[in-house]
Symmetry: C2
Subunit: 341 residues, 2 copies
DNA sequence: CCGAAGATTGCAAGCGCTTGCGAAAGATGA
DNA sequence: TCATCTTTCGCAAGCGCTTGCAATCTTCGG
């Protein structure tokens, strides 16, 4: 059993309160005393009891990270980045995965964070007002990633501009029939682990800018998985007048699309162009042109924002600009290059 | 500020000790009393203070998950699976990423888990005896994934058999010049977030079984990244007598290899076969033949083992058998199919 | 040399919950 | 009806640390 303040106090010949103050660097303790206490503590291998100091102070120095789906690269990356800044700042990271609507509801129905953490970093979940209120009622400072709520700090991406840029890239290359692979929650899912339709809106913006009339048949809304992307792409290929390019709302969807295209014997980018969204770890290796939106940076910034909030700063929102990363999956449509046979 | 036991006690007209016992279901409380207390608690929205009960009991009901690199799919998947069983069992999950040797050393040098968690789930890190002892000295029950240590529970994979199976698959298809892309830590890295060379040994076993003399030039040891796999594959293609197939020690390496092959204009599996190891989330979409070793199951089993240990069960080790998943990246070498031109 | 301001340290009252032990009350058996 | 068990509860002593406030000791200006 670990030694207590008392034992250190005895050894250093001071009172427990002095030990407490000395070890925490509270001013008002003579430097000589402090040193003596520290030595005594060291010799005893003393480590202050967390539970005890938490009870006494009411602060846990812990931050809960709430995420819809841990195994998605995006979330893991954000958490990793956030975790680094949090732990450097002395906060523990409590992980909570809300992978089903049931878990989500249960989580918000009970004060599950009360006394467990000082703040919550909420990824992607589009919190309802009640959910946000529930967190605050539990005394949590909260910072959001990928959504925006009055009163809470957040970092989010200009997804509409991103969708627009991705689409414009294809338009600039000469494409006119451009499909959109969007992310759509399964109906009934309260997960909401998905950025809203901003990217789709950006896609429409770009078409409008270019005077291309939108074709609802080219807009696909599917689950955010490789397979779904694959299937949607297959459907697109069966159209009477198929697209020559696609912008996917995530790299995973794009991976699926690429797989289908390859399977169909189509060359990318020769016969078909695709641009993704995320700049996924593996996007480079498959040569996917994609929108980079600083995934790790989102985590870092959000963690910093949360820490600032915990230190009493007012809520602030940070907006990131996504950037196009051109790789090998986009090129002018074949039609144009075939002009001079 | 949340209400305390005292307020519930007052409201229910009983003593605090009765409230405590009633709410926790401790036997020795009349059912009627218990009900009354529960109602009072409910009406007050009472939630027991975690810190207080932790201080009083000494148990934290928290498990630390220690992982080398969160953003790797493998680890995220294991954590997700483990996290589900842990939280269902009432444990909180504390996340600790040890992504650099410095962080690792610092982590084990100080009793960083003391009072923070009841147990630790350690992924991939090949703990030294001292490190394991350090954890136990902090009162942690420990369970390992991907390594084995006397005295600790663990779940690991029969990697040697896996490497052998993967290689044999290629041999059975008729390949004879088979390269191996192995994972090798950067020198000086104490990370150890890598399974030992078991897979390589299995590869050699298979060659020996088939009477194929091993060529050290075909064994590559690189970092576990897509790019490294890509580079190693490129090197392999420059050999005087290049291989016709490769078994990669991870799917990420395999992805890299595939990228290089595609870039070189080689058909997979027509001109070259590749088998990976992991059954990565994206392996299916690129049609990669690979060894599945139940990643999520490893997490689940490890979590269960840890919980069992916390409940007083003796340490146990679970061994998983990897299975070959045949997809489209393997086929007989061209030489054989070109027999009848 | 003296009183006061300033620097250090100790006292003791929490923080909110758990638990061993004894008391009170109801049940049982002769 | 009385002694003996049981069943239910309350008392009070922690768990180990923090912190407001008072006590003690120095240091200084006059």
């Amino acid at each position: 059993m670990p030694s207590s303040v008392q034992s250190v106090a005895d050894r250093a010949g001071v009172s427990v309160s002095t030990v407490s103050r000395a070890l925490r660097g509270v001013p008002g303790i003579a430097e000589s005393t402090r040193k003596r206490v520290q030595e005594a503590a060291e010799e005893l291998g003393y480590v202050a009891s967390l539970s005890a100091s938490r009870l006494a102070t009411g602060r846990t120095h812990t931050v809960a990270v709430v995420v819809p789906l841990l195994s998605k690269w995006f979330f893991a990356e954000v958490i990793a980045a956030a975790g680094r800044v949090l732990s450097r700042a002395g906060y523990d990271v409590l992980l909570t995965e809300l992978s089903t609507p049931e878990l989500r509801n249960a989580f918000f129905a009970a004060p599950r964070l009360q006394g467990r953490s000082d703040g919550a970093l909420v990824l992607a979940l589009q919190l309802t007002a009640e959910e946000l209120a529930a967190l605050e009622a539990q005394g949590q400072a909260v910072a959001l990633v990928g959504s925006e709520r009055a009163g809470a700090s957040s970092v989010c991406v200009e997804d509409r501009a991103g969708g627009r840029a991705a689409t414009r890239h294809l338009i600039n290359l000469g494409h006119e029939r451009i499909a959109f692979l969007g992310i759509q929650e399964a109906p009934g899912s309260t997960l909401g682990g998905v950025p809203p339709a901003e990217r789709l809106l950006g896609y429409r913006d770009a078409l409008a800018d270019a005077g291309i009339s939108p074709d609802p048949g080219l807009e696909f809304g599917v689950g955010n998985t490789v397979d779904a992307g694959s299937a949607a792409m297959a459907t697109a290929l069966t159209m009477a007048e198929p697209p020559t390019a696609v912008v996917a709302a995530s790299d995973e969807l794009a991976f699926g699309a690429l797989a289908t295209l390859r399977g169909a014997g189509l060359q990318v980018p020769g016969d078909f162009s695709v641009v993704g969204y995320d700049n996924h770890e593996l996007a480079g290796s498959v040569g996917l042109t994609t929108m980079d939106h600083g995934v790790a940076e989102q985590g870092r910034l959000a963690a910093e924002a949360l820490i600032a909030t915990l230190d009493g700063a007012p809520a602030a929102v940070e907006r990131l600009q996504p950037n196009l990363v051109v790789r090998g999956s986009t090129a002018p449509p074949r039609r144009l290059r075939a002009v001079s046979p």
